[in-house]
């Protein structure tokens, strides 16, 4: 009623005060909410299951520190684009500087240390925001939009009505996910198959050879392994491996000498792979 009968300037002054109070109240509320979010994020990182930990980790790594520091350094209400720029940017900046500080303090960059350090930065920031807001609530009027470029604040927020736009956005999201799935499936190995053969000196025992075969052929494959020492065949074995399957063995060698291992593809019998090494005195 008073407002209705007062002069225009008084009306504007009261309205501005109301907006300032409302802003302070809302911001104060968001500090408490921010502290709760931080606690949930920290617990999720340290004890949560994998999918929740991913969300929490990205939130602490790329969002929360930037959100809080930006609120301190730019308390005016930033327009959407600037907020979208500064939140991940300052979060990454904080992560980089925090990493340097942790390393300088001889603290390893482990999950626990990252979670504690970035949590501390965010919590400290939240405390500062709460203090600043109390200060502003008491006397100062927030300088809204003083840095927003060219009156940009009036262009914030979109209202989405109807179903067409959400449907189109859903199509876009599905198409992007589909593209990534197609791309990832397409990157599966589709070239020629191959097989690895290796031979290494036995651990500890000088007179033994560790042998291995790993098949990356496109289909199940049969092999024959022939082992010879100084030209004398000392063992042979037939194996069948599925794609991705490995075979390993240790071949004892009684005398020092040159061990040669040949891998033949079956049927056929042509030498497919071969390795050789010296064992015993002066070898391997």
């Amino acid at each position: 009623m008073l407002l209705a009968v007062g002069d225009a300037s008084q009306t504007r002054r009261v309205a501005r005060s109301a907006v300032a109070w409302l802003d302070a109240a809302l911001l104060g509320g968001s500090v408490a909410a921010g502290a709760e979010v931080l606690a949930v994020v920290e617990l999720s990182i340290l004890f949560g299951p994998a999918p929740i930990r991913v969300v929490a980790g990205v939130t602490l790594g790329l969002i929360l520190p930037g959100l809080v520091i930006t609120r301190i350094l730019a308390p005016e209400r930033l327009e959407g684009a600037e907020q979208l720029l500064l939140v991940p940017a300052i979060s990454m900046v904080i992560a980089i500087l925090t990493g340097l500080v942790l390393n300088a303090a001889h603290l390893h960059l482990t999950t626990d240390n990252w979670a504690i350090a970035l949590g501390l930065v965010t919590a400290t920031g939240l405390a500062i925001v709460a203090k600043l807001e109390r200060h502003e609530q008491v006397g100062k009027h927030p300088h809204r939009d003083s840095a927003a470029p060219l009156g940009a604040a009036s262009d914030t927020g979109w209202r989405i009505r109807g179903v067409v736009a959400p449907a189109l956005l859903a199509v876009a999201a599905l198409a992007a996910i589909g593209a990534l799935v197609i791309g990832a499936r397409g990157q599966h190995y589709r070239g020629q198959g191959f097989t690895q053969l290796w031979a290494l000196p036995g651990r500890g025992a000088l007179s033994a050879v560790r042998l291995g075969v790993l098949s990356h052929e496109l289909h199940e494959a049969r092999y024959r392994i022939r082992v010879s020492v100084d030209g004398q065949e000392v063992g042979t074995q037939e194996i069948t491996l599925r794609p991705g399957q490995a075979w390993q063995s240790t071949q004892p060698v009684t005398n020092a000498g040159e061990v040669e291992v040949r891998l033949e593809r079956r049927p056929g019998g042509a030498v497919y792979r071969h390795v050789r090494l010296r064992v015993g005195r002066g070898g391997g």
């Binding site: 930990r53 340097l100 009036s154 209202r159 959400p166 990832a184 990157q187 290796w198 390795v275 010296r278």
Partner: protein, 630 residues
């Protein structure tokens, strides 16, 4: 709104109807139109991404249809969005949303090239540093494949944070970090251009023009330090433009929002840090003459702080950065000097080292890209002179854009060409702004449907020309294995051999290998590749001779190399990038025939060498006895 309108009037840009749309105030119907157009264009971009994904899939089996499919997908993403950005009806919010959509869609195109693992050469170099940080929990561990990388660990620290906090692999965490950096870059570019020009239209067009930069699609979206440092540098410049508009106590916060990214950028990438310091010094110098108030002193303060950060970091951590940067820079400059003085031979443009020469369409597009860029740049400079837009940032942009034509000579030298291409990512920041100003001058005179269609068509040519200028045609898509062709050489057999080395030989063995297997052994294999055995003495000659001479045995002894990796595919093709091992190898960039098989077969006859691994193409020799002098 008044500010924007005024700015646009100053530029001769604004017309009565477009003030509403070109500025910031939007009506309810406009917002609804925004949402609809952005949603529709997002759906179109999604379809474009599907097309690109299918193109990449068929490209892996070597289909010749891959390239038309790929470009069809790219144009499905590019054309509708740029059309809307160029139109005057688009609001500021819509422009920003569309630029974010476009820039991020282009980033997804890069991911689709290899969505499961790193394949870019530089990505492997930084992956090793990131893996070391994650494995040891400490910074500055030596990196055998890029020794300077641990001295600038900003990107890898951020990746380590995400990896540790989420439990994701370094590849996925790195992709997220570079994705966030890409978002920062798009928005920082837009806001910087908007603050300097005072026009949402100019900012939108300039940002879209920057997307055609030859480095934007692949190199600056790869997992490398520049992909993060450049966005941080742009954030610093954006912060400076913002700080100039802030008054009162808020200036302290605004200044800290410059200094924090500045500090992070300095520890992320050397060249970006040096170029930013030069830019800030130029800006402060011009501000003395062109700006008023306390801005001049304040800008000098920022420039000196940046200089101090760079010097301090070099003193504390990155002492060898000059040694690292000196050879390529001096090589490029001496190449230019030789060329100008008539002593050097010009590098053959569009020449393929191994396969067919560049397709005629790509040559044409590349020339068109350069011609359009230079022409539009000239228009921009003329517009700045005509309208006397002599504020410090605009003048710095105008001066910085001179580097584009000035760097042209570098393309005619072997070592300068790579340097010039690398510099484009930085040079294009002012170039794109000047081009947008030049186009805006034309817009002020004529703005009809034909003009818009012409502009969007030219932008399509710029996109195609930019990509083929920055990347060889065979590297734009994935595909079957090629010899020494970076991303096209990363395949299962090499990865599997390196993984075997990690599990069977154990980590940290010194190992000599070709360019590609060096990367794989350093990352998947966790080995210590040896490229040199002394100042500028490489081990590459060991792999080229038909017989192992005492000199080459001496190299192996000096390098204490216990393992050699031999890839027989190198005997079947010339190297697509001109080198098999390194720049110092015999016949570098001038190979006429592949390495003879006998050069590799000699290791089978070498006394004291054991052939311990054979996967068909790749063979690993244990030469501990040879390295010990046995």
């Amino acid at each position: 709104v008044a500010n924007t309108a005024g700015a646009d009037h100053d530029l001769g840009l604004a017309r009565p109807r477009e003030l509403l749309m070109d500025g910031h105030q939007t009506t309810d119907w406009a917002r609804r139109a925004d949402v609809f157009s952005v949603s529709a264009l997002a759906a179109a971009a999604g379809m474009g991404l599907m097309t690109v994904a299918l193109a990449d899939t068929v490209a892996r089996s070597g289909s010749s249809w891959a390239s038309p499919w790929f470009w069809a997908g790219m144009l499905m993403i590019w054309m509708p969005i740029t059309l809307r950005i160029v139109e005057r009806e688009a609001t500021r919010s819509e422009r920003i949303a569309l630029l974010v959509l476009l820039g991020m869609a282009i980033y997804v195109v890069k991911i689709l090239n290899s969505p499961r693992y790193f394949v870019g050469y530089d990505e492997f170099l930084h992956w090793r540093t990131a893996e070391d940080i994650v494995r040891t929990g400490t910074l500055f561990d030596p990196n055998p494949v890029l020794p300077i990388s641990p001295s600038y660990p900003g990107l890898e620290i951020a990746t380590s944070a995400i990896t540790e906090l989420t439990g994701l692999s370094v590849f996925v965490a790195g992709t997220l970090v570079v994705g966030a950096a890409r978002l920062i870059m798009i928005l920082a570019l837009y806001l910087l251009y908007e603050r300097v020009s005072g026009s949402a239209w100019v900012a939108g067009v300039a940002t879209a023009v920057y997307f055609t930069c030859p480095q934007f699609l692949f190199f600056d979206a790869a997992y490398g330090y520049e992909s993060l440092s450049l966005p941080l540098a742009l954030l610093v410049l954006c912060g400076i433009a913002r700080r100039r508009q802030v008054r009162g106590q808020r200036q302290i916060g605004a200044t800290l929002l410059i200094i924090l990214p500045l500090a992070a950028m300095v520890v992320t990438h050397h060249v970006t840090a040096f170029l930013l310091v030069i830019t800030l010094l130029l800006l402060a110098t011009f501000a003395v003459r062109l700006d008023h108030g306390n801005t001049r002193l304040w800008l000098w303060g920022i420039a000196l702080i940046a200089t101090g950060f760079v010097l301090l970091w070099r003193y504390l951590v990155a002492g060898r950065v000059i040694d690292y940067l000196e050879p390529p820079v001096s090589g490029a400059l001496s190449g230019v000097v030789d060329l100008v003085s008539g002593q050097g031979v010009s590098r053959q443009l569009f020449h393929g080292y191994a396969g067919p020469t560049t397709p005629p369409l790509d040559v044409l597009a590349s020339f068109a890209f350069t011609a359009i860029t230079v022409f539009a740049l000239a228009l921009g400079w003329l517009h700045i002179l005509r309208t006397r837009r002599f504020d410090a940032l605009t003048v710095v942009f105008a001066v910085g854009a001179l580097a584009y034509p000035a760097s042209g000579l570098l393309h005619f030298t072997t070592f300068g060409a790579e340097l010039a291409t690398r510099l484009l990512a930085f040079v294009f920041v002012p170039v794109a702004f000047c081009i947008a100003l030049g186009v805006s001058a034309a817009r002020a005179r004529r703005f009809n449907t034909a003009w818009v269609v012409a502009l969007v068509s030219i932008s399509g040519v710029l996109l195609y020309g930019g990509v083929v200028t920055g990347s060889a045609s065979w590297s734009v898509h994935p595909g079957p294995y090629l010899v020494s062709a970076d991303s096209r050489s990363i395949e299962a057999e090499g990865i599997s051999a390196a993984s075997w080395a990690a599990s069977s030989l154990g980590p940290g063995n010194r190992i000599a290998a070709d360019r590609i297997n060096t990367l794989l052994m350093a990352t998947y294999g966790d080995q210590l590749p040896v490229a040199t055995v002394g100042p500028r003495i490489g081990v590459a000659p060991v792999f080229f001779s038909r017989e192992l001479t005492p000199y080459e045995r001496g190299l192996l002894r000096r390098g204490s190399v216990p393992y050699l990796v031999v890839d027989y595919r190198l005997t079947r093709s010339l190297p697509w990038l001109g080198i098999y091992y390194d720049n110092g190898e015999p016949g570098a960039y001038a190979h006429r025939r592949p390495i003879p098989t006998a050069a590799f077969a000699k290791f089978d006859r070498m006394q004291g060498a054991s052939r311990v691994f054979d996967s068909g193409n790749i063979v690993i020799f244990d030469i501990k006895d040879v390295a010990r002098g046995g």
